[in-house]
Amino acid sequence: MIDKFVRSAAEALDGVPDGATVLLAGFGDVGMAMTLLEGLIEQGARDLVLVCNSGGRDGSAVARLLTLGRVRKLVCSFVRPASDAGRLIAAGKLEFEVVPQGTLAERIRAAGAGIPAFYTPTAADTVLAEDREVREIGGRLCLLEYPLAGDLALVDAWEADRWGNLTYRDTQRNFNPIMAMAAKRTVAQTKHAVELGAIPPEHVMTSGIFVHHVLHVPD
């Protein structure tokens, strides 16, 4: 019987190695797997590459992971200069790759979809294209982009069953479905654990085939 439920974040994150690339979903705090992120802080892996939408607010779990010096490189679309992440970057203590948000999403999607590279007009006319491969397609300058795959994805769900089928509530969805597909190991925390079959097949938002471990985190 397939049963992906684990009893603790420690069990879900056992063996995450130093140097891992971690895909962390969420837009602000919404849709961010807080218990798993705390678990990753506990777990101790270092030298991480963290892929998420933003550098986080001061006091947030993301900021804590960063200020603990556990992240070598941050890949995201948005960092406030006046934030822990911003200060670490400005001080040269954190590598930083800024990626426009749509390109970030599409690169993650490409990793999950087996697309080895794609072109996009986004940022092709900007300083972000400096020293990078561009190409005119249909009269429009485009930038070549590569997938962003994770060793680990941390996903925040509303419901999950033992196969790892997931639903999301409202804008909790954001990066979760595409990150779930883009990592070698996808761990989901869920508010509600439901029976297999309780989620109608039309309404599954992330299929369990993308999910390796599920942690039930009720209120």
Binding site: F27, G28, D29, V30, S54, S77, F78, V79, R80, P81, A85, G86, I89, A90, F96, V98, V99, P100, Q101, G102, T103, A105, E106, I108, R109, T120, P121, T122, A123, D125, T126, V127, L128, Y168, R169, D170, T171, Q172, R173, N174, F175, N176, P177, I178, M205
Partner: protein, 216 residues
């Protein structure tokens, strides 16, 4: 006479932009004043607000006691939905932006050039820290891009320029600019003035603008 006009405030600029949005358009409103445009669209005019964190059909802010912590807009502010709304994930949300499915994007900016370039994310080319978010995707993808911004900087410098002095967000994509002094279209000739606030002359407006202005 130069003191006899009253520049629009934030609400005034948002309201002026809202006037130009017809029923049925799908619209993304950037952070800041653009977000406030939604407050000035008449309730009986169906305009569909896209928020790039995955909302199609965003509604107004909820009453404080009715906040749903799972439902925010691209500024992470609590919102509501309108009837007919839908959720999508982030890749699909930016497929909407990049794929030309927005009738309109409205962004704030530092500068706009007379060829429609927009600069809204950095004040120096190679700042170590960058706040781009979804602006570059939104700026290149919509059927039309409008900008709302003060006509001048606090120091009186013109934000409507021959060329942008700040790093670009996108090149040649701005179609219309709403400032606290005027409404201007970006045309093959350059900026054409569509509207000036009462009490300000075309010449007064030109005096406050680096780029050359053309009459409608």
């Amino acid at each position: 006479m130069a003191d006899s006009f009253i520049p629009l405030d934030r609400d005034g600029m948002a309201a002026r932009a809202a006037r130009d949005i017809p029923e049925g358009w799908v619209v993304n409103l950037g952070i800041g004043i653009p977000t406030e445009v939604a407050n000035f669209i008449p309730a009986d005019r169906e305009v569909i607000i896209h928020s790039e964190n995955g909302v199609i059909g965003a509604g107004p802010a909820p009453a404080p006691e009715a906040v749903n912590p799972y439902l925010v807009n691209a500024g992470t502010q609590p919102i509501t939905l309108v009837r007919g709304a839908a959720y999508v994930h982030h890749a699909d949300s930016f497929a909407i932006a990049r794929g030309g499915h927005l009738d309109l994007t409205v962004l704030g900016a530092f500068e706009v050039s007379e060829t429609g370039d927009i600069a809204n994310w950095a004040r120096a080319a190679h700042e170590p820290v960058a706040q781009i978010g979804g602006a570059m995707d939104l700026a290149i993808g919509a059927k039309r891009l409008w900008v709302i911004m003060e006509h001048t900087t606090k120091e009186g410098g013109s934000r409507l320029r021959r060329q942008c002095s700040y790093p670009l967000t996108a090149k040649g994509t701005v179609k219309r600019v709403f400032t606290n002094l005027a409404v201007l279209d970006v045309t093959p000739r350059g900026f054409v003035v569509r509207d000036i606030i009462p009490g300000l002359s075309f010449e007064d407006l030109q005096a406050r603008t680096e780029a050359v202005l053309y009459r409608d």
